[in-house]
């Protein structure tokens, strides 16, 4: 089993681009078909964009990890139920925030009934509202991207599980959400559903343009409108990773990255929104 030591993000760089670099450094030259031992001892803080994909990778590959359980990071990972997460409703309902500003890792499984999965997802979304406490009239804006992006996992990815996690930073006044699947990824979905041989980059562009892989002309809204609500309605940042390609829009600047020697089988979405302090009307962004 190969050892992988997780490198620290650049001090002070908690931007989505900065955290992408840490994720890239951690999982470059790895494959979910092999097992690794991840050393988190040097890490002093863990961002959702690192913790959640790592959780999914460890579960998928059967890898192991080590951390100082007495350190702040060790306690944080324990409290968020890293790496296995919570995949049933009663323990999630019993989760004691106790002053914490983050949810546990929640795992939605295709083996659950549709109703069980929906209740678990609803509980997660209500917990996000509880930590964030947005202004009245902003709840739809908070719920919408989570609802649409998680729905996409079970509509499109053929993944057996979806992973979700949220962390609110009260001093910085923003919420980070991460949504991960280890399904077929964007390019393979276009290939299998539409016979289109897209690169990871072209598949991502098509998805963000709203080109659905479903036959109906009434599909294709979810990803694009979610990004618009996060970025335009809420003034946030948004990142999307699939295969060997990443797209990030942050502080109204857009970036695209090739990720050589890195391959995420599935999709990773991470976004950041400031805490809404006034009503947010999402209807202009739904088309």
């Amino acid at each position: 089993m190969k050892d992988v030591t997780i490198t620290l993000p650049q001090l002070g760089d908690d931007s989505l681009v900065g955290v992408l670099r840490t994720l890239y450094a951690t999982l470059a030259n790895t494959s979910v078909q092999r097992q690794y031992h991840f050393n988190l001892r040097p890490v002093q803080w863990v961002h959702p964009l690192l913790a959640l994909p790592l959780s999914a990778f460890i579960q998928r590959s059967g890898s192991t990890y080590e951390v100082d359980n007495l350190s702040d990071v060790g306690k944080y990972l324990q409290m968020m139920s890293f790496p296995r997460g919570i995949d049933s409703l009663p323990p999630l309902q019993q989760y004691d925030f106790g002053g914490k500003n983050y949810t546990p890792i929640s795992v939605l499984r295709s083996t659950s009934t549709e109703s069980q999965r929906e209740k678990l997802q609803a509980q997660f979304e209500q917990m996000i509202l509880q930590v964030l406490q947005p202004a009245l009239g902003a709840t739809s804006a908070v719920y919408y991207p989570i609802s649409e992006l998680v729905t996409n996992i079970f509509d499109h990815s053929n993944s057996d599980a979806g992973y979700i996690f949220g962390q609110y930073y009260p001093k910085k006044n923003f919420l980070d959400i991460c949504i991960v699947d280890t399904g077929r990824g964007l390019a393979k979905t276009y290939r299998e559903e539409k016979g289109l041989d897209f690169s990871d980059k072209n598949a991502m562009q098509a998805a963000l343009q709203g080109r659905s892989t479903k036959p109906s002309k009434e599909r294709g809204f979810g990803l694009r409108t979610s990004k618009d609500i996060v970025c335009k309605a809420l003034g946030g940042s948004f990142s999307l990773i699939s295969g060997s390609f990443a797209y990030i829009t942050e502080v109204q600047k857009e970036h695209s990255f090739n990720l050589p020697n890195f391959y995420w089988q599935g999709v990773i979405i991470a976004y950041r929104i400031p805490r809404p302090i006034q009503m947010v009307d999402i209807t202009p962004f739904l088309e």
Partner: protein, 117 residues
């Protein structure tokens, strides 16, 4: 949770209890639709009391459910929506066809290792 309203001769389904208070997924609505199609009753009420939010996808799927039931000579009434849910349904009804934003183009691609350098 189904109840039968004898006065109105309709099967009444409280969605917050049957599904959840936040309804996001298409597949859970497909399950409901198939159950209603297999019921002998011809008339149903889908009660959105205590449903705080429906996603666009879910609202669209409910609208398709209405249409499928109608094509099978069954009726469904969607009742007690809060204003956010009403607004979502109104948006979906008025903007059914997805317009592709083909003018969206990814920015120039960088290599992540250039950033790290």
């Amino acid at each position: 949770m189904y109840t039968y309203n004898h006065m109105e001769h309709r099967l009444h389904l409280k969605l917050a209890q049957e599904i959840a208070e936040i309804i996001s997924s298409r597949d859970v609505i497909t399950v409901i639709k198939n159950r209603l199609l297999n019921q002998p009753e011809k008339s149903f009420v889908l009660d959105f009391s205590s449903v705080a939010f429906t996603s666009r996808s879910a609202a669209h799927e409910f609208i398709l459910l209405e249409e499928d039931l109608k094509s099978h000579k069954k009726q469904v009434a969607l009742v007690h929506m809060n204003k956010d849910v009403q607004a979502m349904f109104s948006t979906v009804r008025h903007h059914r066809i997805a317009t592709q934003k083909l003018d969206f183009v990814l920015p120039q691609v960088m290599d992540i290792n250039v950033l790290a350098a």
